[in-house]
Amino acid sequence: MSCHRTADIVADYFDARLSPPARLAVQQHVSTCTDCRAEVAALAPAHELLLSWQQQPVPEWDRSHGPAAHQPRQPLVRRRPRPTWGHVGRWLPLAASLVLSVAVLTQTRLDVSAQGWQLSFGTSAAERQLQQLDGYLAEQARVQQQENQQMLEAALQQFGDNTADTLVQMADWFEQQRALDIQRMEAGFQQMLDRDYQTVNSVQQLASYVQYQGDLP
């Protein structure tokens, strides 16, 4: 094989979307170049075999599966009774960033197998992937800490006096923040699953998501 254009020519030759002028040029080349002519002839059966695929009809299936499996969450305040001030502290979005930070620091690993969940700590073979994810998580944690700070400041301003009523309002408000927080983490986790399957083996975020989700009523 001495023609340096063979890969290009063969690809164009079997290209159903090639423009007519380009097709003419390819056919001209093939008619004069023995290398390319031989290669086209040799590969034609492979291309024909692919074209012989018989399109199969789609069996009936549940097309609403996507929307059904992915309903937006109802705001928590509407789903459960008004929380008492006592355990509002646990719901502080601050907790989320804490979980994230802990996961980063301890390199929490969560492995999913047929046997169920397994949480492990420390480094492992997948360290390279973990480091990538660490960067991402650290950034997430940083952003969240900033947001928490702003939120606390805003909260303190908004609920300046500590009457019982305003405390309950504040509890509601934190509940909403937490619901938003969960939604955001869940969205991030699902995007990782869908778009970045390579990092799923090192699911620190999954670990923190599962822990956080575990707090749900």
Binding site: T6, A7, D8, V10, A11, D12, F14, D15, A16, R17, A42, L43, P45, A46, H47, E48, L49, L50, L51, S52, W53, Q54, Q55, Q56, P57, V58, P59, W61, D62, R63, S64, H65, G66, P67, A69, H70, S113, A114, Q190, Q191, L193, D194, R195, Y197, V200
Partner: protein, 201 residues
């Protein structure tokens, strides 16, 4: 016919009808793609469902800069690789066949690297692809690398241009052509090893 972008916008606004219209528009392509990869109806349905779930979850991230079909097939490819990896790591019946198609047992015509796709009592008649060429195509594609499978899928079955493929995979059109050429050559070599697939048997 409503354009894809309109259906996507309406689906994002909660219209189930728009979503189902969009799904019906592309499910045939995705199902047959899944069938080529898995070789049987049940796994193909599972994979297709998985793909559309991924599409739905990410729908708000589709910016319309690329064709919807190339965006969809990026997800489909990831799901397929992910599924193959899971199957490989956790084979149901430990029947994963070797990469080398010459080592395929002659008697086992339902051979595939998707161990879940075959049980001891499911013969080739259960492949839901009674058509000989479909079975042959499935088996040959199994022996290619994921990258080679993808380029043939996008070029031959999805009918994308090399420029569209290049944009989708963030490679040059020349690289796409070189990959296509290599994949076709590999396929031809594999056919040589299978006399029953040779055109002049």
């Amino acid at each position: 016919m409503e354009p894809d972008n309109e259906l996507i916008a309406n689906a994002l606004n909660g219209s189930l009808h728009a979503w189902e219209t969009l799904v019906r528009r592309y499910e045939g392509r995705v199902y047959n793609y899944s069938l080529r990869l898995t070789g049987n109806r049940d796994d193909a349905l599972d994979l297709m469902q998985d793909v559309f779930l991924g599409v739905y979850r990410n729908l708000s991230r589709f910016r319309g800069e690329s064709q919807f079909i190339s965006w969809l097939f990026r997800i489909a490819h990831n799901k397929a690789v992910d599924l193959a990896r899971r199957r490989h790591a956790n084979p149901v019946k430990g029947q994963a066949l070797p990469e080398d198609p010459d080592a395929w047992p002659e008697s086992q015509s339902s051979g595939s690297q998707w161990p879940g796709s075959q049980t001891s009592d499911s013969g080739p008649q259960e492949l839901a692809m009674a058509i000989e060429s479909n079975v042959a195509i499935h088996r040959l594609l199994q022996a290619l690398s994921p990258e080679q499978r993808l380029i043939l899928e996008l070029k031959v079955f999805q009918g994308m241009t090399f420029d569209e493929i290049a944009m989708m995979q963030e490679i040059s059109a020349n690289t796409a052509k070189t990959r296509f050429y290599a994949a076709l050559k590999k396929l031809r070599a594999l056919m040589e090893g299978h006399h029953e697939l040779s055109p002049n048997r």
